[in-house]
Symmetry: C2
Subunit: 328 residues, 2 copies
């Protein structure tokens, strides 16, 4: 049988309370006894059981995270930051891929708080979390009600930057491929694009719907190629879509950026590795992660009287997929 706190106490010749105090780093233990307890713990390979501790303390030290997919290097970066930062504060992160079956994780009080990173059933999750009074944070979320904490990137501003970059290079025939309108980020990116174009006194070459996937870019480019009329620049709502555009154009013998410029959004890992390396709008993944943890921990310690609303600024990263239009 595994060692319990009683075994440690007995062997150290002390009470369980003293051992518990050592476990919790309380100052009221004589240094001599503290060392003795730690020594015995090592001897017995003792580790406190999370279940017993959670039951007594009423908290689990576990933060849950729900997300729609794992196959996304931007998510990966956000998660890594969150995981490390939580660990430094004594909390652990548990990830769940969103599916109809998963809400049990917080129904059973297994986590102290939840971070929702663009999950699929967000509305249902929020309702459930409200009912169970579990604090949560939304990252990049569709519908941030005023009563919940959320972290969003200023997608509107990012799109304006993207469009202005192309405009500054001299482009006039600029197309935009959107993301799924379900996401607020998609809608904001489109709005920013349209705004910048209007400011420049230009009409978009085209605005076509996409799905944040390589296939979206392929399809859009194919259609333009088939129609025999290409834009001089494309602003794709995300990097995968941008890569699809470039891939289809190159396969048809069109050079990027010589014939057509392409800019993406997110700065996924693949963006810098692709050829040509992708000009894009960088989302501050580490920043997002850091903010998420700070807000969550403040909320758990009751130090956050009002919900936090954080808006972060994205950043233009100029690489090799954009250039002046051919004529100039």
């Amino acid at each position: 049988m595994k060692a319990s706190i009683y075994d440690v106490a007995k062997r150290a010749g002390l009470s369980v309370v003293t051992v518990s105090r050592v476990l919790n780093n309380e100052s009221t233990v004589r240094e001599k006894n503290r060392l003795k307890v730690l020594e015995v713990m090592r001897e017995l390979d003792y580790h406190p059981k999370a279940a017993a501790r959670s039951l007594a303390k009423g908290k689990t030290n576990l933060i849950g995270m729900m997300l729609s997919t794992l196959d996304d290097s931007f998510f990966d970066a956000v998660i890594k930051e969150i995981s490390d930062r939580l660990a430094a504060k004594g909390y652990y992160l548990t990830l769940s891929v969103d599916s109809d079956l998963s809400p049990m994780l917080f129904q059973e009080d297994r986590v102290d708080g939840v971070i929702l990173l663009s999950p699929i059933n967000e509305i249902a999750h929020m309702r459930e979390l409200d009912k169970r009074k579990i604090p949560y944070i939304l990252i990049d979320h569709q519908h941030p009600a005023p009563s919940v904490s959320s972290i969003v990137v200023d997608n509107y501003a990012g799109s304006v930057m993207a469009a202005n970059h192309l405009l500054a290079l001299g482009h006039k025939d600029i197309a935009h491929i959107t993301g799924p309108p379900l996401f607020l980020s998609s809608r904001e990116r489109e709005r920013g694009f349209r705004h910048a174009m209007r400011e420049a006194g230009l009409a978009p070459f085209a605005v076509v719907p996409g799905e944040f996937q390589i296939a979206s870019g392929l399809e859009a480019a194919d259609r333009w190629l088939a129609a025999g009329r290409l834009p001089t620049a494309v602003f794709a709502a995300d990097d995968y879509t941008a890569i699809g555009v470039i891939t289809a154009l190159q396969a048809a013998g069109v050079r990027v950026p010589r014939d057509v410029s392409v800019i993406g959004f997110d700065d996924q890992v693949i963006a810098s590795q692709y050829r040509p390396a992708l000009t894009t709008i960088r989302q501050p993944a580490e920043h997002i992660g850091r903010q998420a943890v700070d807000i969550m921990l403040a909320t758990l310690q009751g130090e956050l009287p009002t919900p936090a609303k954080v808006e972060l600024k994205p950043e233009l990263v100029v690489r090799a997929s954009t250039a002046k239009p051919r004529g100039e």
Copy 2:
């Protein structure tokens, strides 16, 4: 305060034992009382607390999973299958991205079992899990000791298939870009390639080291382009590497598959979307996930006297990135 089992019992006019029996689907409860209990639970919005249950039962109903990265659609597919299948059996999955800080999750008895999906610190994890007597399964693992359960794909056979596909098309100058030799899968793939070439009486055009990343393919192709001598076909140890090769070649004006054929390994999501769509060796992700869950549950129920060793066969998926060499 949240409702406890005592509140439910009192309101239903029954004992806590009866309520507990209902929770655990035991047959010794009168149907009338069972319904009454369920009704009260709904009224009070009662949900049993995982910590209390875990403490009493000595099990958590949680399976942990360690992995090195999330940014991989093959992992994504495996995880999805595992998650759904576990949920159907009343277990939950908790994911951890491998880092130096994370082993606490199983040190504190938070999980009943662990699935290691190519994590980074695999040896350290295995030692820790052995010490804590927590059952675990290795997927695609470097060093499967005879005493542990593992699921591997027959990478050797997959590579032979890949090489034979190219050979059957008439290729003779075939290059291979490996994965990191740290992984057993990399070594097996290289071994399979060399074997098939030897069988055909041919020497490899080249065997160059890679890292399972787009950049690896880019670099290899760049070097061949710079040297002015290209293979007629490339077998990349994974799809990302293959895409790197194609991207670099296309950027240099070399057509795939007309000038050079390229085959990958894994069948990542991007493989079918890329242009040209990638010929590759498909890893049976769903199969792997299913096996992992079945073995894990059998182990937990003590129905698995000896460790399971499962070897699954990969499958050739012919798409558009391979063709006969130009001369033929």
